[in-house]
Symmetry: C2
Subunit: 252 residues, 2 copies
Amino acid sequence: MHTISETTQRGVTERAVTIAGPREPVPGVLWTPEDADGSRPLVLIGHGGSQHKRSPNVTALARRLVRHHGFAAAAIDLPGHGDRTPPDERRMSLRERQMRLRERHIADGGHQVASARAVEDWRATLDALSARDEIGAGPVGYWGVSMGTRFGVPLVACEPRIEAAVLGLFGWAPGPRLAGYDDLARQVCVPLLFLVQWDDELARRPYALALYDLFGSRTKTLHANPGRHVEIPAAEYAASEAFLAAHLAVPR
Amino acid sequence: MHTISETTQRGVTERAVTIAGPREPVPGVLWTPEDADGSRPLVLIGHGGSQHKRSPNVTALARRLVRHHGFAAAAIDLPGHGDRTPPDERRMSLRERQMRLRERHIADGGHQVASARAVEDWRATLDALSARDEIGAGPVGYWGVSMGTRFGVPLVACEPRIEAAVLGLFGWAPGPRLAGYDDLARQVCVPLLFLVQWDDELARRPYALALYDLFGSRTKTLHANPGRHVEIPAAEYAASEAFLAAHLAVPR
Protein backbone atom coordinates (compact mmCIF):
# COMPACT_ATOMS: atom_id res chain seq x y z
CA MET A 1 0.00 0.00 0.00
CA HIS A 2 1.45 3.29 -1.14
CA THR A 3 0.38 6.71 0.17
CA ILE A 4 0.13 9.39 -2.53
CA SER A 5 -1.11 12.31 -0.46
CA GLU A 6 -2.39 13.08 3.03
CA THR A 7 -4.55 15.89 4.34
CA THR A 8 -6.27 16.49 7.68
CA GLN A 9 -9.50 18.41 8.12
CA ARG A 10 -11.67 18.71 11.26
CA GLY A 11 -9.86 15.81 12.94
CA VAL A 12 -10.14 13.47 9.95
CA THR A 13 -6.99 12.40 8.13
CA GLU A 14 -7.64 11.45 4.51
CA ARG A 15 -5.01 9.55 2.55
CA ALA A 16 -5.05 8.91 -1.18
CA VAL A 17 -3.48 5.47 -1.52
CA THR A 18 -2.64 2.83 -4.09
CA ILE A 19 -3.19 -0.79 -3.18
CA ALA A 20 -1.34 -3.60 -4.96
CA GLY A 21 -4.31 -5.35 -6.56
CA PRO A 22 -4.17 -8.84 -8.06
CA ARG A 23 -4.39 -7.54 -11.66
CA GLU A 24 -3.53 -3.85 -11.46
CA PRO A 25 -2.95 -1.12 -8.87
CA VAL A 26 -6.18 -0.16 -7.11
CA PRO A 27 -6.70 3.54 -6.24
CA GLY A 28 -8.23 4.03 -2.82
CA VAL A 29 -8.90 6.51 -0.03
CA LEU A 30 -8.39 5.85 3.66
CA TRP A 31 -10.00 7.98 6.36
CA THR A 32 -8.80 7.75 9.98
CA PRO A 33 -8.94 9.93 13.07
CA GLU A 34 -6.07 12.46 13.25
CA ASP A 35 -3.16 10.94 15.19
CA ALA A 36 -4.92 7.54 15.25
CA ASP A 37 -3.01 5.04 17.33
CA GLY A 38 -3.85 1.35 17.88
CA SER A 39 -6.42 -0.89 16.21
CA ARG A 40 -9.99 0.21 15.51
CA PRO A 41 -13.10 -0.87 13.57
CA LEU A 42 -12.90 -0.38 9.80
CA VAL A 43 -15.80 0.18 7.38
CA LEU A 44 -15.32 -0.58 3.67
CA ILE A 45 -17.57 1.61 1.52
CA GLY A 46 -18.50 0.27 -1.92
CA HIS A 47 -19.60 2.98 -4.38
CA GLY A 48 -22.51 2.61 -6.81
CA GLY A 49 -22.43 2.14 -10.59
CA SER A 50 -20.86 5.16 -12.39
CA GLN A 51 -19.76 6.56 -9.00
CA HIS A 52 -16.25 6.42 -7.55
CA LYS A 53 -14.24 6.37 -4.32
CA ARG A 54 -14.88 10.06 -3.59
CA SER A 55 -18.56 10.28 -4.50
CA PRO A 56 -20.26 12.64 -2.02
CA ASN A 57 -22.29 9.98 -0.18
CA VAL A 58 -19.14 7.84 0.20
CA THR A 59 -16.96 10.60 1.65
CA ALA A 60 -19.75 11.95 3.89
CA LEU A 61 -20.39 8.55 5.45
CA ALA A 62 -16.65 7.91 5.87
CA ARG A 63 -16.12 11.23 7.64
CA ARG A 64 -18.99 10.75 10.07
CA LEU A 65 -17.80 7.25 10.99
CA VAL A 66 -14.37 8.70 11.78
CA ARG A 67 -15.56 11.84 13.58
CA HIS A 68 -18.40 10.32 15.60
CA HIS A 69 -17.00 6.88 16.38
CA GLY A 70 -13.23 6.96 15.87
CA PHE A 71 -13.54 4.26 13.20
CA ALA A 72 -11.43 3.95 10.05
CA ALA A 73 -13.16 3.94 6.65
CA ALA A 74 -11.92 3.11 3.17
CA ALA A 75 -13.19 3.25 -0.40
CA ILE A 76 -11.65 2.06 -3.66
CA ASP A 77 -12.38 2.68 -7.32
CA LEU A 78 -14.05 -0.53 -8.49
CA PRO A 79 -12.98 -1.89 -11.92
CA GLY A 80 -13.88 0.54 -14.73
CA HIS A 81 -14.76 3.37 -12.31
CA GLY A 82 -13.08 6.56 -11.04
CA ASP A 83 -9.36 6.59 -11.88
CA ARG A 84 -9.88 3.18 -13.54
CA THR A 85 -12.30 4.59 -16.11
CA PRO A 86 -11.05 3.69 -19.62
CA PRO A 87 -9.73 6.85 -21.38
CA ASP A 88 -12.39 6.79 -24.11
CA GLU A 89 -15.18 6.87 -21.48
CA ARG A 90 -13.91 9.88 -19.54
CA ARG A 91 -15.71 12.51 -21.58
CA MET A 92 -18.96 10.60 -21.84
CA SER A 93 -22.23 11.85 -20.34
CA LEU A 94 -23.59 9.93 -17.35
CA ARG A 95 -26.14 8.27 -19.60
CA GLU A 96 -23.56 7.22 -22.22
CA ARG A 97 -21.32 5.86 -19.46
CA GLN A 98 -24.13 3.84 -17.90
CA MET A 99 -24.83 2.24 -21.30
CA ARG A 100 -21.13 1.56 -21.81
CA LEU A 101 -20.82 0.05 -18.32
CA ARG A 102 -23.67 -2.32 -19.14
CA GLU A 103 -22.10 -3.30 -22.49
CA ARG A 104 -18.69 -3.80 -20.90
CA HIS A 105 -20.22 -5.80 -18.07
CA ILE A 106 -21.71 -8.25 -20.60
CA ALA A 107 -18.58 -8.32 -22.79
CA ASP A 108 -16.39 -9.04 -19.74
CA GLY A 109 -18.34 -12.18 -18.87
CA GLY A 110 -21.20 -10.78 -16.82
CA HIS A 111 -22.03 -10.88 -13.17
CA GLN A 112 -19.78 -13.64 -11.88
CA VAL A 113 -16.57 -12.41 -13.53
CA ALA A 114 -17.21 -8.81 -12.48
CA SER A 115 -17.99 -9.88 -8.91
CA ALA A 116 -14.88 -12.05 -8.68
CA ARG A 117 -12.70 -9.10 -9.73
CA ALA A 118 -14.35 -6.65 -7.35
CA VAL A 119 -14.08 -9.14 -4.48
CA GLU A 120 -10.38 -9.72 -5.19
CA ASP A 121 -9.70 -5.99 -5.13
CA TRP A 122 -11.58 -5.60 -1.85
CA ARG A 123 -9.75 -8.52 -0.22
CA ALA A 124 -6.37 -7.13 -1.29
CA THR A 125 -7.46 -3.78 0.17
CA LEU A 126 -8.50 -5.40 3.43
CA ASP A 127 -5.18 -7.26 3.68
CA ALA A 128 -3.26 -4.02 3.16
CA LEU A 129 -5.36 -2.04 5.64
CA SER A 130 -5.23 -4.68 8.38
CA ALA A 131 -1.45 -4.50 8.26
CA ARG A 132 -1.53 -0.86 9.37
CA ASP A 133 -0.98 -0.10 13.07
CA GLU A 134 -3.97 2.29 13.31
CA ILE A 135 -6.38 -0.34 11.91
CA GLY A 136 -5.05 -3.79 12.75
CA ALA A 137 -7.43 -6.71 13.19
CA GLY A 138 -10.35 -4.61 14.51
CA PRO A 139 -13.85 -5.63 13.42
CA VAL A 140 -14.73 -4.84 9.80
CA GLY A 141 -18.03 -3.64 8.37
CA TYR A 142 -19.23 -3.06 4.82
CA TRP A 143 -21.55 -0.37 3.43
CA GLY A 144 -22.64 -0.44 -0.21
CA VAL A 145 -25.93 -0.03 -2.08
CA SER A 146 -26.89 -0.68 -5.71
CA MET A 147 -23.64 -1.82 -7.41
CA GLY A 148 -22.21 -1.73 -3.89
CA THR A 149 -24.65 -4.55 -3.07
CA ARG A 150 -24.16 -6.38 -6.38
CA PHE A 151 -20.51 -6.79 -5.38
CA GLY A 152 -21.10 -6.54 -1.64
CA VAL A 153 -23.09 -9.77 -1.36
CA PRO A 154 -20.31 -11.96 -2.82
CA LEU A 155 -17.76 -10.07 -0.70
CA VAL A 156 -19.63 -10.40 2.60
CA ALA A 157 -20.50 -14.03 1.80
CA CYS A 158 -16.87 -15.09 1.37
CA GLU A 159 -14.97 -12.71 3.66
CA PRO A 160 -15.11 -13.85 7.30
CA ARG A 161 -13.46 -10.65 8.55
CA ILE A 162 -16.65 -8.67 7.74
CA GLU A 163 -18.92 -8.71 10.79
CA ALA A 164 -21.80 -6.38 9.81
CA ALA A 165 -23.12 -4.89 6.59
CA VAL A 166 -25.46 -2.27 5.18
CA LEU A 167 -26.78 -3.23 1.74
CA GLY A 168 -29.72 -2.26 -0.46
CA LEU A 169 -31.09 -0.76 -3.69
CA PHE A 170 -30.60 -4.10 -5.41
CA GLY A 171 -32.86 -7.01 -6.12
CA TRP A 172 -32.86 -10.63 -7.12
CA ALA A 173 -34.98 -12.61 -9.54
CA PRO A 174 -34.39 -16.14 -10.83
CA GLY A 175 -32.62 -16.30 -14.18
CA PRO A 176 -29.21 -16.35 -15.84
CA ARG A 177 -28.38 -12.66 -15.24
CA LEU A 178 -27.65 -13.24 -11.54
CA ALA A 179 -26.91 -16.98 -11.60
CA GLY A 180 -25.61 -18.14 -8.23
CA TYR A 181 -26.32 -14.81 -6.55
CA ASP A 182 -29.15 -16.31 -4.48
CA ASP A 183 -26.79 -18.88 -2.97
CA LEU A 184 -24.33 -16.14 -2.03
CA ALA A 185 -27.14 -14.13 -0.42
CA ARG A 186 -28.09 -17.17 1.68
CA GLN A 187 -24.46 -17.32 2.88
CA VAL A 188 -24.65 -13.75 4.23
CA CYS A 189 -25.13 -14.36 7.95
CA VAL A 190 -23.84 -11.19 9.61
CA PRO A 191 -26.12 -8.52 11.13
CA LEU A 192 -27.55 -6.68 8.17
CA LEU A 193 -29.38 -3.42 7.45
CA PHE A 194 -31.05 -3.53 4.01
CA LEU A 195 -32.23 -0.27 2.41
CA VAL A 196 -35.17 -0.24 0.00
CA GLN A 197 -36.49 2.70 -2.00
CA TRP A 198 -40.21 2.07 -2.31
CA ASP A 199 -40.44 3.60 -5.80
CA ASP A 200 -37.04 2.36 -7.04
CA GLU A 201 -37.10 2.35 -10.84
CA LEU A 202 -33.94 0.21 -11.11
CA ALA A 203 -34.18 -2.24 -8.21
CA ARG A 204 -37.93 -2.90 -8.37
CA ARG A 205 -39.73 -3.49 -5.11
CA PRO A 206 -40.63 -7.22 -5.42
CA TYR A 207 -37.06 -8.10 -6.41
CA ALA A 208 -35.58 -6.05 -3.57
CA LEU A 209 -37.94 -7.75 -1.07
CA ALA A 210 -37.01 -11.14 -2.55
CA LEU A 211 -33.32 -10.42 -1.97
CA TYR A 212 -33.96 -9.38 1.65
CA ASP A 213 -35.84 -12.64 2.08
CA LEU A 214 -32.83 -14.68 0.91
CA PHE A 215 -30.23 -13.40 3.38
CA GLY A 216 -29.20 -15.95 5.98
CA SER A 217 -28.68 -13.37 8.73
CA ARG A 218 -30.66 -13.82 11.92
CA THR A 219 -30.47 -10.07 12.55
CA LYS A 220 -31.62 -8.43 9.33
CA THR A 221 -33.59 -5.20 9.31
CA LEU A 222 -35.21 -3.74 6.22
CA HIS A 223 -35.73 0.03 6.04
CA ALA A 224 -37.97 1.26 3.23
CA ASN A 225 -38.75 4.85 2.28
CA PRO A 226 -40.72 6.47 -0.52
CA GLY A 227 -38.67 7.69 -3.45
CA ARG A 228 -36.61 6.63 -6.43
CA HIS A 229 -33.27 4.87 -6.69
CA VAL A 230 -30.95 7.75 -5.84
CA GLU A 231 -33.21 9.38 -3.25
CA ILE A 232 -32.14 7.63 -0.02
CA PRO A 233 -33.21 10.05 2.74
CA ALA A 234 -30.56 11.53 5.00
CA ALA A 235 -32.08 9.70 7.97
CA GLU A 236 -30.93 6.38 6.47
CA TYR A 237 -27.31 7.54 6.43
CA ALA A 238 -27.74 8.32 10.13
CA ALA A 239 -29.33 4.87 10.57
CA SER A 240 -26.43 3.27 8.66
CA GLU A 241 -23.94 5.00 10.92
CA ALA A 242 -25.82 3.94 14.08
CA PHE A 243 -26.16 0.35 12.83
CA LEU A 244 -22.46 -0.01 12.01
CA ALA A 245 -21.47 1.67 15.28
CA ALA A 246 -23.70 -0.67 17.30
CA HIS A 247 -22.38 -3.82 15.64
CA LEU A 248 -18.68 -2.95 15.28
CA ALA A 249 -17.89 -0.88 18.38
CA VAL A 250 -15.36 -2.54 20.65
CA PRO A 251 -16.30 -2.29 24.34
CA ARG A 252 -13.61 -0.16 26.02
CA MET B 1 -59.65 13.83 34.92
CA HIS B 2 -59.39 12.26 38.33
CA THR B 3 -56.13 11.01 39.89
CA ILE B 4 -56.52 7.73 41.80
CA SER B 5 -52.94 7.14 42.85
CA GLU B 6 -49.47 8.55 42.25
CA THR B 7 -46.02 6.97 42.61
CA THR B 8 -42.55 8.13 41.58
CA GLN B 9 -39.73 5.79 40.63
CA ARG B 10 -36.35 6.70 39.11
CA GLY B 11 -37.52 10.18 38.21
CA VAL B 12 -40.76 9.04 36.58
CA THR B 13 -44.07 9.97 38.17
CA GLU B 14 -46.83 7.51 37.30
CA ARG B 15 -50.46 8.46 37.93
CA ALA B 16 -53.43 6.11 37.71
CA VAL B 17 -56.23 8.33 36.41
CA THR B 18 -59.84 8.20 35.32
CA ILE B 19 -60.87 10.24 32.31
CA ALA B 20 -64.49 11.30 31.75
CA GLY B 21 -65.17 9.38 28.54
CA PRO B 22 -68.17 10.04 26.29
CA ARG B 23 -69.94 6.78 27.29
CA GLU B 24 -68.21 5.65 30.49
CA PRO B 25 -65.19 6.54 32.65
CA VAL B 26 -61.93 5.57 30.92
CA PRO B 27 -59.13 4.20 33.13
CA GLY B 28 -55.71 5.52 32.14
CA VAL B 29 -52.10 5.96 33.21
CA LEU B 30 -50.07 9.14 32.85
CA TRP B 31 -46.29 9.18 33.03
CA THR B 32 -44.41 12.48 33.47
CA PRO B 33 -40.97 13.54 34.70
CA GLU B 34 -40.84 14.01 38.47
CA ASP B 35 -41.63 17.65 39.33
CA ALA B 36 -42.58 18.36 35.69
CA ASP B 37 -43.33 22.02 35.12
CA GLY B 38 -44.50 23.67 31.91
CA SER B 39 -45.66 22.17 28.62
CA ARG B 40 -43.94 19.24 26.92
CA PRO B 41 -44.45 16.70 24.11
CA LEU B 42 -46.95 13.93 24.85
CA VAL B 43 -47.04 10.42 23.37
CA LEU B 44 -50.29 8.43 23.44
CA ILE B 45 -49.62 4.68 23.55
CA GLY B 46 -52.31 2.38 22.19
CA HIS B 47 -52.12 -1.19 23.52
CA GLY B 48 -52.69 -4.31 21.38
CA GLY B 49 -55.65 -6.70 21.36
CA SER B 50 -56.05 -8.52 24.72
CA GLN B 51 -53.41 -6.20 26.24
CA HIS B 52 -54.10 -3.21 28.52
CA LYS B 53 -52.77 0.15 29.68
CA ARG B 54 -49.97 -1.40 31.77
CA SER B 55 -48.79 -4.13 29.40
CA PRO B 56 -45.00 -4.41 29.69
CA ASN B 57 -44.18 -2.95 26.26
CA VAL B 58 -46.50 0.01 26.93
CA THR B 59 -45.00 0.89 30.32
CA ALA B 60 -41.41 0.33 29.14
CA LEU B 61 -41.82 2.68 26.18
CA ALA B 62 -43.59 5.29 28.33
CA ARG B 63 -40.82 5.24 30.92
CA ARG B 64 -38.02 5.65 28.39
CA LEU B 65 -39.80 8.58 26.71
CA VAL B 66 -40.04 10.29 30.10
CA ARG B 67 -36.54 9.43 31.34
CA HIS B 68 -34.59 10.03 28.11
CA HIS B 69 -36.53 12.95 26.62
CA GLY B 70 -38.59 14.58 29.39
CA PHE B 71 -41.78 13.81 27.43
CA ALA B 72 -45.15 12.87 28.93
CA ALA B 73 -46.77 9.56 27.94
CA ALA B 74 -50.25 8.18 28.47
CA ALA B 75 -52.12 4.92 27.94
CA ILE B 76 -55.78 4.02 28.41
CA ASP B 77 -57.70 0.76 28.59
CA LEU B 78 -59.48 0.55 25.23
CA PRO B 79 -63.13 -0.65 25.27
CA GLY B 80 -63.39 -4.23 26.54
CA HIS B 81 -59.77 -4.34 27.76
CA GLY B 82 -57.97 -4.03 31.10
CA ASP B 83 -60.25 -2.63 33.80
CA ARG B 84 -63.01 -2.48 31.14
CA THR B 85 -62.98 -6.24 30.62
CA PRO B 86 -66.52 -7.62 31.13
CA PRO B 87 -66.71 -9.62 34.41
CA ASP B 88 -67.43 -12.95 32.69
CA GLU B 89 -64.23 -12.63 30.61
CA ARG B 90 -61.84 -11.99 33.50
CA ARG B 91 -61.08 -15.62 34.22
CA MET B 92 -60.78 -16.68 30.61
CA SER B 93 -57.54 -17.97 29.09
CA LEU B 94 -55.82 -15.71 26.54
CA ARG B 95 -57.14 -17.89 23.74
CA GLU B 96 -60.73 -17.84 25.01
CA ARG B 97 -60.55 -14.06 25.43
CA GLN B 98 -59.20 -13.55 21.93
CA MET B 99 -62.13 -15.55 20.53
CA ARG B 100 -64.57 -13.59 22.69
CA LEU B 101 -63.04 -10.26 21.59
CA ARG B 102 -63.55 -11.28 17.97
CA GLU B 103 -67.18 -12.31 18.62
CA ARG B 104 -67.90 -9.13 20.56
CA HIS B 105 -66.26 -7.04 17.84
CA ILE B 106 -68.66 -8.46 15.27
CA ALA B 107 -71.71 -8.29 17.57
CA ASP B 108 -70.92 -4.62 18.38
CA GLY B 109 -71.06 -3.59 14.74
CA GLY B 110 -67.53 -4.36 13.56
CA HIS B 111 -64.60 -2.20 12.64
CA GLN B 112 -66.20 1.21 12.19
CA VAL B 113 -68.21 1.21 15.43
CA ALA B 114 -65.24 -0.08 17.44
CA SER B 115 -62.93 2.51 15.89
CA ALA B 116 -65.35 5.36 16.54
CA ARG B 117 -65.54 4.41 20.22
CA ALA B 118 -61.78 4.06 20.62
CA VAL B 119 -61.19 7.37 18.84
CA GLU B 120 -63.73 9.15 21.08
CA ASP B 121 -62.01 7.79 24.19
CA TRP B 122 -58.61 8.91 22.90
CA ARG B 123 -59.86 12.39 22.02
CA ALA B 124 -61.42 12.82 25.46
CA THR B 125 -58.11 11.70 26.95
CA LEU B 126 -56.18 14.18 24.84
CA ASP B 127 -58.54 17.01 25.85
CA ALA B 128 -58.06 16.17 29.54
CA LEU B 129 -54.28 15.84 29.27
CA SER B 130 -53.80 19.07 27.31
CA ALA B 131 -55.53 20.95 30.12
CA ARG B 132 -52.77 19.97 32.55
CA ASP B 133 -50.01 22.51 33.20
CA GLU B 134 -47.19 19.97 32.79
CA ILE B 135 -48.45 18.90 29.32
CA GLY B 136 -50.32 21.83 27.75
CA ALA B 137 -50.45 22.20 23.99
CA GLY B 138 -47.06 20.59 23.34
CA PRO B 139 -46.72 18.40 20.23
CA VAL B 140 -48.48 15.03 20.43
CA GLY B 141 -47.32 11.69 19.05
CA TYR B 142 -48.98 8.28 18.85
CA TRP B 143 -47.46 4.80 19.20
CA GLY B 144 -49.57 1.69 18.66
CA VAL B 145 -49.16 -1.58 16.76
CA SER B 146 -51.63 -4.36 15.90
CA MET B 147 -54.95 -3.27 17.48
CA GLY B 148 -53.07 -0.07 18.30
CA THR B 149 -52.87 0.51 14.55
CA ARG B 150 -56.40 -0.70 13.82
CA PHE B 151 -57.62 2.17 16.05
CA GLY B 152 -54.55 4.36 15.54
CA VAL B 153 -55.15 5.00 11.83
CA PRO B 154 -58.66 6.49 12.37
CA LEU B 155 -57.32 8.47 15.33
CA VAL B 156 -54.29 9.93 13.55
CA ALA B 157 -56.39 10.58 10.43
CA CYS B 158 -58.94 12.73 12.27
CA GLU B 159 -56.94 14.25 15.14
CA PRO B 160 -54.90 17.26 13.96
CA ARG B 161 -53.06 17.55 17.29
CA ILE B 162 -51.11 14.34 16.50
CA GLU B 163 -47.91 15.28 14.65
CA ALA B 164 -46.03 11.95 14.34
CA ALA B 165 -46.90 8.28 14.69
CA VAL B 166 -45.41 4.81 14.99
CA LEU B 167 -47.76 2.14 13.63
CA GLY B 168 -47.44 -1.45 12.41
CA LEU B 169 -48.29 -5.16 12.71
CA PHE B 170 -51.51 -4.53 10.84
CA GLY B 171 -52.53 -4.90 7.23
CA TRP B 172 -55.16 -3.91 4.76
CA ALA B 173 -56.97 -5.81 2.04
CA PRO B 174 -60.05 -4.78 0.06
CA GLY B 175 -63.32 -6.11 1.47
CA PRO B 176 -66.11 -5.40 3.94
CA ARG B 177 -64.10 -6.25 7.07
CA LEU B 178 -62.11 -2.98 6.89
CA ALA B 179 -64.49 -0.89 4.80
CA GLY B 180 -63.32 2.73 4.65
CA TYR B 181 -60.03 1.99 6.38
CA ASP B 182 -58.07 2.61 3.18
CA ASP B 183 -59.46 6.14 2.92
CA LEU B 184 -58.46 6.82 6.52
CA ALA B 185 -54.94 5.51 5.84
CA ARG B 186 -54.65 7.90 2.87
CA GLN B 187 -55.56 10.76 5.24
CA VAL B 188 -52.61 9.94 7.54
CA CYS B 189 -50.08 12.58 6.50
CA VAL B 190 -47.79 12.96 9.53
CA PRO B 191 -44.23 11.57 9.70
CA LEU B 192 -44.68 7.85 10.20
CA LEU B 193 -42.61 4.85 11.25
CA PHE B 194 -44.33 1.59 10.25
CA LEU B 195 -43.19 -1.70 11.83
CA VAL B 196 -43.51 -5.00 9.95
CA GLN B 197 -42.73 -8.47 11.25
CA TRP B 198 -41.57 -10.40 8.17
CA ASP B 199 -43.12 -13.68 9.34
CA ASP B 200 -46.24 -12.16 10.96
CA GLU B 201 -48.92 -14.86 11.19
CA LEU B 202 -51.71 -12.33 11.93
CA ALA B 203 -50.83 -9.27 9.83
CA ARG B 204 -49.58 -11.11 6.74
CA ARG B 205 -46.76 -9.50 4.80
CA PRO B 206 -48.56 -8.48 1.56
CA TYR B 207 -51.38 -6.85 3.52
CA ALA B 208 -48.96 -5.01 5.81
CA LEU B 209 -47.01 -3.74 2.77
CA ALA B 210 -50.29 -2.70 1.13
CA LEU B 211 -51.21 -0.64 4.20
CA TYR B 212 -47.81 1.08 4.23
CA ASP B 213 -48.37 1.89 0.57
CA LEU B 214 -51.67 3.64 1.35
CA PHE B 215 -50.42 6.17 3.91
CA GLY B 216 -50.43 9.74 2.64
CA SER B 217 -47.35 10.75 4.64
CA ARG B 218 -44.41 12.15 2.70
CA THR B 219 -42.05 10.95 5.43
CA LYS B 220 -42.92 7.30 6.01
CA THR B 221 -40.31 4.72 6.89
CA LEU B 222 -40.98 1.00 7.02
CA HIS B 223 -38.84 -1.16 9.31
CA ALA B 224 -39.12 -4.92 8.79
CA ASN B 225 -37.52 -7.68 10.84
CA PRO B 226 -37.72 -11.47 10.80
CA GLY B 227 -40.08 -13.01 13.32
CA ARG B 228 -43.72 -13.51 14.22
CA HIS B 229 -46.41 -11.04 15.37
CA VAL B 230 -45.33 -10.54 18.97
CA GLU B 231 -41.59 -10.70 18.33
CA ILE B 232 -40.73 -7.03 17.62
CA PRO B 233 -36.99 -6.81 18.38
CA ALA B 234 -35.82 -4.49 21.15
CA ALA B 235 -34.00 -2.38 18.56
CA GLU B 236 -37.36 -1.26 17.15
CA TYR B 237 -38.45 0.11 20.51
CA ALA B 238 -35.21 2.12 20.50
CA ALA B 239 -36.00 3.18 16.92
CA SER B 240 -39.55 4.15 17.96
CA GLU B 241 -38.17 6.27 20.77
CA ALA B 242 -35.65 7.98 18.48
CA PHE B 243 -38.29 8.58 15.80
CA LEU B 244 -40.76 10.17 18.22
CA ALA B 245 -38.02 12.20 19.88
CA ALA B 246 -36.80 13.51 16.50
CA HIS B 247 -40.26 14.54 15.32
CA LEU B 248 -41.76 15.87 18.57
CA ALA B 249 -38.84 17.48 20.38
CA VAL B 250 -39.27 21.21 20.82
CA PRO B 251 -36.07 23.16 20.07
CA ARG B 252 -34.95 24.79 23.32
